[in-house]
Structure formats: structure tokens, C-alpha cells
Symmetry: C2
Subunit: 523 residues, 2 copies
């Protein structure tokens, strides 16, 4: 997930403050803690022993096959931002779905990169939706210690054996782990406990601009309508095994504000020698003057009229959840991890979490204007750009936020500034008592993890296509296991864990099996 995984890595510092032991219960001996986690987990199975019979050994037996499947997938880059390997990546993903037992697998054309629709009918009473992405973020090989598309296995001190590669944790690792669960269940001769309706996109990393086209195709919408919920495989564990769950996510609008002499009718149409500033208006100053009108003088609060009019305040339940999270998570660890000394307005830890969950934001992602190289260059730029993201909470929508921004700029005398939205979507919410959330919590708890709950992820994922009109399905993420470095060099996914509290790939595969049985049971 484009935004969520980055966010998770930021939350790891917080979650490391979860002082509860990995294995709940005072009777756990030090000796037990030294056992591999999957052995210990077997003492508190998420599913009856007979259901797991044969599956555990099948997972172990297929360990190399699972790792090689993931390596093969990573070795095929599919980067939407560079239109690189997209068709190959789509075809490979479709092949892997067929291989994992999906009966019907279809490529779904869109105005952008194709999506995938697939089904697996096990004749079960319960049908579950699956959301995958087959694209990955760009990678600059010069920044990596092992090549991003080689998928090398590397020993990482304190963690264990990890697989390094672009997409390792975001999102091929967790997705391949889920597929390995299907292989293990089939290999053990088990019937799937649920049917699957699968949808995937190849443009998650560029803001899912065409994913609604996939899920709104009549036959796909009809299939999704039969689902009790939708989930995406995830590697939810932090460095110490802890898990933070969220009941939805903020929406996002990513856009560029472009100030240009050509559009403005003032200033130069292209870069001009800077000596002319004495007599020529500056599109760069024009942009800066427009920008400051968007936020309060401290840069923290959106000042666009009507922008946050529909922002729903936190409920009492939300506030209690956050208070509990604030109690369990460490402010000091969070600040250290984030490289931050103060929250905005010097608010408390609990208030900072409330802001994180509830506040719409207007953020500068980047500023690009005129000369950007080393030193200076005496030009008056003809064009300057601010890259902006706006985060939205229910009941704001991406379309309304964009319209409010445009109206604001026009009203303030900056109607000439182009507003180019590149991606984004509405917020998403899933009820705490939905089957998918209850099943997730149950499986985490049975594996000794008491997840911290937050009402909302401050990052974003395109869950609105499931939770919003017309489907209204619960949607979220589930998965044990660990990885880090989404969008960064040396992205990794944990294969063999040296920390008993953190699941390696085999334990993560097993957790997916447990989750599917749990979903079937509680749906």
C-alpha cells in the first residue's frame, strides 16, 4: 500500500511501546519464549487441531516454493509511474492466481493499466473479497545495497533472514504469503473455508486513478456484492511483533499547484534573467503568495473555506480508543522514530493521536521552481510548482475538497494557478464489530498479540471503493509478519525470524490460514 506501509514504519516506534508480552498469560515460562513462535502458537491454535492437520507440515514443506514464488514475482518489476513491465506484471500475477487455485482469472482493461478480476468458488457459505496491487514503487539501484529486482536473501542482524527487493513488503511479500496459504491448504487436501472474489490494480502507487473502473464493472460489482468483507494481505507486525490496527483510513487528494506566466498573463512565459525582477512580476512569488492563503500562519490548519465543513468529529468511542492507544503506545519512541521534538501547538501525546486520526490536512510534499541545482542561477522563473497532498476525514470527499480548493484560489485572486489532481480518493471506514475486524483481532490475540486499535489510519488506501457506495462492505488489512522500507531503498520482508515475537514467512502463512477459518466461522 502506497501510503499505509510508509505510515506503519513510522508507527513502529510507537507500537514498540506495547509493553505487554508477546504471549499473553502469566504462566508462560522463559523456556517457552525461546521456542520458535510457530511452535508456541500451536499451543493456542486459532482453529481446531483437525482443521490445521497437515497444513502446518505442508507450509514447512513448501517453504522454499513460497520464497521462490515471491522472488520470481519481485524479479518482474511493474512500475506504473514509469509504465515499466506493466503487462508482464499483470500476466504473471494472473498466472500466479491460476496456480493458487483461482478458477476464473480475467484481465480488466481500464483507461490506465489493466486490473484483474478472479474468483475461486469453494462452495462455501461465506464469500470474501480480496484486494491486491501488482505494481511497485520506483527504485534507484544506486541507493540499494543489493539490487532492487534481484530479490536476494540477506541476513539482517536482530531480525533474521530477509528478502530484499522492491515490493518485498509493499505489497508482493504479504500477497505471496497469502497465496502460499492457499497452496498449503490445497496441498494438505483441505477445502477452502470461504469462496474468494479477487480484484487487483496496477496503479496503486500512482493513486489508484482507474481502480473504480475495475470494481464498478457490472459483473465485478455483482460478484463483490456477495462478499461479507474485503481484505488485503499485510505484514502488520512491528520490530517487536506488535500490531496497530485501524478502522479505516483518511482520504487523500494529491495535486500540483502550477503558477506560470503563460497562464497568469503576468510575469515571463519562460525563465528570464533575474535582473528583470525590477520590472516583471514573478510566477514564483505568485505561487508563494497563493500558498500562504491555504493554511493558518503557523502552516498547520487548513484555511480553505468549506474545505473541512463535513469533517466528522471524533465520537466518544473514538476518543476512548485513542486514550487507550495513547496509554499503550510510547510518545518518546514515536518522536524518536519520527525525528520530531514537538507536536503542532505543543499538544499532548493523546491529543497528537486525536489530531492524527481526525484532522484534515494540507501538506506541501514538494516545491519545484526555477533553478534547483547546486548553488544559484540568476533567473526569474516562468513557472513554479507546489506538490500538495490534502488528507480527508469522513464525511469529506475528494471531489468536494478539490472544488473547495479551486473556489478558494479563484476568490483570493489566484484563479490562474492550475490545480492538477494526479490521484486520490475518499476516506474509508469499517465498523469495529464487522466480521473482518473481529476475525483479525481474534487471530492476533490467539497468537499472543493484543493489537492497539485506532479509529483511523492517517495514511490512505483506496478502500472507499469497497466501503463506500454502492457496496458498503467492511474492508481492511490482515497479516502477521514483518517488513519495512516501502518506497525506500533496501525494502525487505522477513523470511526467517530470529525474534520469537515476530513471524517469519511460514508463521505468516499459517496466520492467513487461521484467519480464513476464523472469517468463515464468524461471518
Amino acid at each position: 500500500m502506497k501510503r499505509e506501509l510508509e505510515f506503519k514504519s513510522k508507527l513502529e516506534g510507537e507500537a514498540a511501546a506495547d509493553r505487554r508480552t508477546f504471549l499473553a498469560g502469566a504462566a508462560v515460562s522463559a523456556a517457552a519464549l525461546a521456542l520458535p513462535s510457530w511452535v508456541r502458537a500451536s499451543a493456542a491454535p486459532a482453529v481446531p487441531r483437525d482443521e490445521m492437520d497437515g497444513i502446518r507440515s505442508e507450509i514447512e514443506k513448501r517453504h522454499n516454493e513460497s520464497v521462490e514464488r515471491l522472488q520470481h514475482w519481485i524479479q518482474q518489476p511493474s512500475i506504473a509511474a514509469e509504465n515499466r513491465g506493466m503487462n508482464e506484471g499483470c500476466e504473471l500475477t494472473m498466472h500466479m492466481l491460476r496456480d493458487a487455485g483461482f478458477e476464473q482469472v480475467t484481465k480488466v482493461p481500464t483507461d490506465g493499466q489493466p486490473g484483474i478480476f478472479a474468483t475461486l468458488d469453494a462452495g462455501a457459505p461465506c464469500t470474501v473479497g480480496l484486494y491486491f496491487m501488482y505494481d511497485v514503487k520506483q527504485a534507484d539501484p544506486s541507493e540499494w545495497t543489493s539490487p532492487p529486482f534481484e530479490a536476494a536473501l540477506v541476513d539482517k542482524p536482530g531480525l533474521g533472514k530477509v528478502l530484499v527487493g522492491r515490493g518485498a513488503v509493499n505489497q508482493k511479500g504479504p500477497e505471496a504469503t497469502f497465496l502460499a496459504a492457499l497452496h498449503a491448504m490445497r496441498g494438505a487436501g483441505k477445502k477452502m473455508p470461504v469462496n474468494f472474489v479477487f480484484v487487483a490494480e496496477g496503479e496503486e502507487e500512482i493513486g489508484s486513478p482507474h481502480f473504480p473502473q475495475v470494481v464498478r464493472k457490472p459483473e465485478i460489482a455483482a460478484a463483490l456484492k456477495k462478499c461479507t468483507s474485503v481484505f488485503m494481505p499485510y505484514a502488520a507486525q512491528g520490530l517487536n511483533g506488535e500490531v496497530t490496527m485501524t478502522l479505516g483510513a483518511k482520504g487523500v487528494v494529491e495535486l500540483e499547484l502550477v503558477s506560470s506566466g503563460a497562464r497568469w498573463g503576468r510575469g515571463p512565459r519562460k525563465d528570464l534573467h533575474s535582473s528583470n525582477k525590477a520590472r516583471v512580476d514573478s510566477p514564483a512569488w505568485h505561487l508563494v503568495e497563493a500558498l500562504v492563503t491555504l493554511v493558518s500562519p503557523d502552516g498547520n490548519d487548513p484555511m480553505i473555506e468549506g474545505f473541512a465543513a463535513k469533517a466528522r468529529p471524533l465520537s466518544e468511542t473514538d476518543k476512548k480508543m485513542i486514550a487507550e492507544a495513547a496509554r499503550r503506545l510510547s510518545e518518546a519512541d514515536a518522536k524518536k522514530q519520527m525525528g520530531v521534538d514537538h507536536w503542532v501547538h505543543d499538544v499532548s501525546w493523546q491529543e497528537s493521536l486525536e489530531l492524527l486520526c481526525s484532522r484534515p490536512t494540507i501538506n506541501i510534499e514538494g516545491l519545484v521552481g526555477g533553478y534547483t541545482g547546486p548553488g544559484g542561477k540568476t533567473i526569474l522563473p516562468g513557472r513554479a510548482v507546489a506538490k500538495i497532498d490534502m488528507r480527508l476525514v469522513p464525511d469529506m470527499t475528494a471531489a468536494e475538497a478539490l472544488a473547495a480548493l479551486k473556489a478558494h484560489l479563484a476568490k483570493k485572486g489566484f484563479g490562474d494557478i492550475e490545480v492538477n489532481m494526479s490521484g486520490g480518493y475518499d476516506p474509508t471506514s469499517t465498523p469495529a464489530d464487522s466480521s473482518i475486524i473481529r476475525a483479525s483481532i481474534a487471530v492476533y490475540k490467539k497468537n499472543g498479540i493484543d493489537p492497539v486499535l485506532l479509529p483511523r489510519l492517517a495514511g490512505s488506501w483506496p478502500g472507499f471503493v469497497f466501503t463506500g457506495e454502492p457496496l458498503h462492505l467492511p474492508a481492511g488489512h490482515f497479516g502477521m509478519g514483518h517488513g519495512n522500507g516501502a518506497h525506500a531503498p533496501d525494502e525487505y520482508y522477513l523470511i526467517e525470524s530470529s525474534n520469537a515475537k515476530v513471524a517469519g514467512i511460514d508463521d505468516a502463512v499459517r496466520a492467513h490460514v487461521e484467519f480464513l477459518y476464523e472469517v468463515a466461522r464468524t461471518a
Copy 2:
């Protein structure tokens, strides 16, 4: 010249409005206009015929030698910004000086790249200072139609044969033309009419940070003190042969304003996921908020307290000079050339020239913060930079302007923002009645050019080291000839002119000879 030549190309559109014919006087026949310009110029010699005897033929005879010298010089890049070929470029320049007759040629170490000090004592009563630069701007070969360091001779329709290469016009072409004048005079057996004190730097393109160290060395300062004036060879002619002269130049300060979480103590110390904007301050917003305090809301007028306190208003003489320039130059051509539809505040053409000559400015050269690539990236940048240049008029100084900026930022609550000056210097002024200006005008006029005069160049060059304390020498530029593309791809210098109004290299060499005799005569 870093800033001036760029500026000149912008002024060409204006100067093209000089409707006077190249050859003054109504008696000039159409037949005479068809003759090569140097033949025609000989009808109105700038110096008595006996002084030029033998020199003209020597110039023609040495045409290939002059072109090859320039080619050889261009083929040795010296780029201070990249620390590339600096020592080789310095040595080559020194070799060329000795070759042209300088008796004493010394490398002058500085804290940066070395300067050069040289003298040529002709036993003349008058000593003239020379200022050269041996560095050139960077060049990206992929943007050039012929390689920037090949110095190819190319036919340019409407202009003639030009030499294409980095440094062709800025500044090796004009400098090599001057050296060719010395060779021609020696070749013709002439005694130099003036003695020379020569200084050069290798850091003009990065703002001359160490050039004061060169000219303030006691033996060099003592030598310069004997000079009546200092000049730099120049290719002053526009596309139609016209010349615009200036009696000084604005000063400049180039700097970066750096806002960072590390210095601020708020916001992140490095880039953070943008979802955290809800609870974390933004160094990028902090920079934007600081920037708007520097100028009026339209981005045009400096608002830094005390910044322009010492800015000297235009005198009545200045205003008359500008009124005359406004009458002779074309506003429409200037706007077309610049890609501009309106002046600031929609002032008139004459007012726009007044602003250009008299207004201190604060300009954004560039904005660089966070993610600057294609599309977006959901980060909250830990650091953002604005590249600024400030132009200064007499009696402002670079040091005082910088101090005023720092005091302003501190007072407005932005004292954490780093102010990193990378280069710059004080304004420079030379009296209209100084020998160098009078000699320049005389030679231009004798060659049929009635130069447009402006009180000040809005661009900048480091003439303050000569015109300011302690030397107080007149300093300026002289040279016929034409080139363009300083700092841009396909920079060129005109070798053989197909336009009778514009001097090729041989005519430009001859004009330097005339200029030296004229300086000697009028000093």
C-alpha cells in the same frame, strides 16, 4: 560576465529599436553599405591613418590565428562550479598572456581558484587596467547541436559564420579578440599606446567570491592604482549592430534560505510520511510563511526593514538618460523578446526602465523542497530551500543587505532559517565623463553606432573591486562584435558577419586597437 551577458541578450530586443543607420551621415550611398564593414569603417577612422597603417592588414593576415586561438581556449573547459579543468585553464590563459606580450604573468593563489596578475609596460604615459575571467558556465552536451567544447565553426543564417562553444561569447570570444588586437599591433611593429595592468579570476560564474583577495594583494593594488580605468573586453553589439551602454551595474547577493526541522526544533529532522502533517509542523510551510514577509503581497516590492534605506534615487540626469533610452528603444520588441505582456504595476515603458535601473529587488531564483520528481510523493519534507537573489543599487552594500535580511527574519520569528550567501558584491558606478566611457562612445560613434545609454545595468558584475574602496577607478566594458547564448546551449560568437551592421571578429579586433589609441589620447 555571468549576469551581464544574459542581460544583454534580453536587451537586444530593445536595442533593435535603434532606428539610426549603422553609418551616420546622409551622404552614405547604398553602394557603400554593401561593402564589408571594416572597409567602410576605414572611411571614418577612429585613429589617424598612420597609427592604423599596417595593423589592418596584420589583422586580416592573422584571422585564422585569431580564430584558432579562441578555439584552442574553448577546447579547454574551466568550470569553477564543477572544479573542472581549473588549473589547466589558468595555465593556458597565462600562456596566452605571455604570448600576447605581457612581460610579467603571475598566478595568484586565493582561498578558491587562483587569479592571474600580469603587466605589460610599454613606457606609455597612460596605464589601463584589464579584467578577464577564465572560467565558463557549465554545459550539458545533450542540449547542444554541436559539442560545447569542440568550438566548431557553423553557418548561422542571417548572421554569418559563428563559433559555437561554451565561453564563445561569455567571455573567451571577446577576450581572445582583445588579445588578437595586441598580436596585430605587435605584428605591425607598433608600440602599445598604453601600459596594461591585468587581473583575472576563475570564479566569475560562481559570484566572484575570492576576486577581492586578488585585487587587494598589495603589489596588485599598487599596480592597479596607477591605472586611469579598468575595462573588460565585450561583444556589445545586438543582432542589428546596436549597442546599449551602462554607467555601472547593480550589486547582487545570491543566497539560499534553508528551513529545516533540525534547525527549527519543530517539524521532522528528515522527511516523514505526509500523514503526520496532522500532528507535526512543516519546515516547508515555515519557509513559505517566511518568504511572504520579504516582499509586498504582489511579490514586487522588498519589505525587509532597512534593506533599501541607502538606495539612492535616480538623479535628474539619470531620468533624462532613461527618457531618451525609452524613446529610442522599442517596448514592443523588449516585451516580445522577454515573453512578457505587462510590467509590474502596469507601469509605462519609461517607468519600467526607471525601475530596472533604480529598484532594489528580491527575487526567487528557485524553490527546492521535498519531492521534486514527476507526480507526487506523500512526504512531509524535513527541509526546504528557496534560492534568492537580491539586487542592490548605490549606496546599498552586499554586507548591509545580508544583515538586514537576517535581522528581518529574526524579528519575524524565522531566526532559525539559515541564510547561506553563496556569492555577490556591491553595486558599481562609473561617471559618464570618465575617460573609459568617453573613449567607448567615441569609438562606437566613429564606427557609426550611436549607443543608447542607461545609468545602470540591472544585472551585475564585480566592477566594485575597481570602482569602490580603495581604488575608485572608472570601470566598464568595451567591444564591438556579437554573440549570444551565454549560460545557454549553442552559445556562439560571430566570426564572419553577413550583416554589414554587425562586426565580425576582425572588425572587433580593429575596434579594440582604435579603443586603445582613443583611451591613450583622452586619458
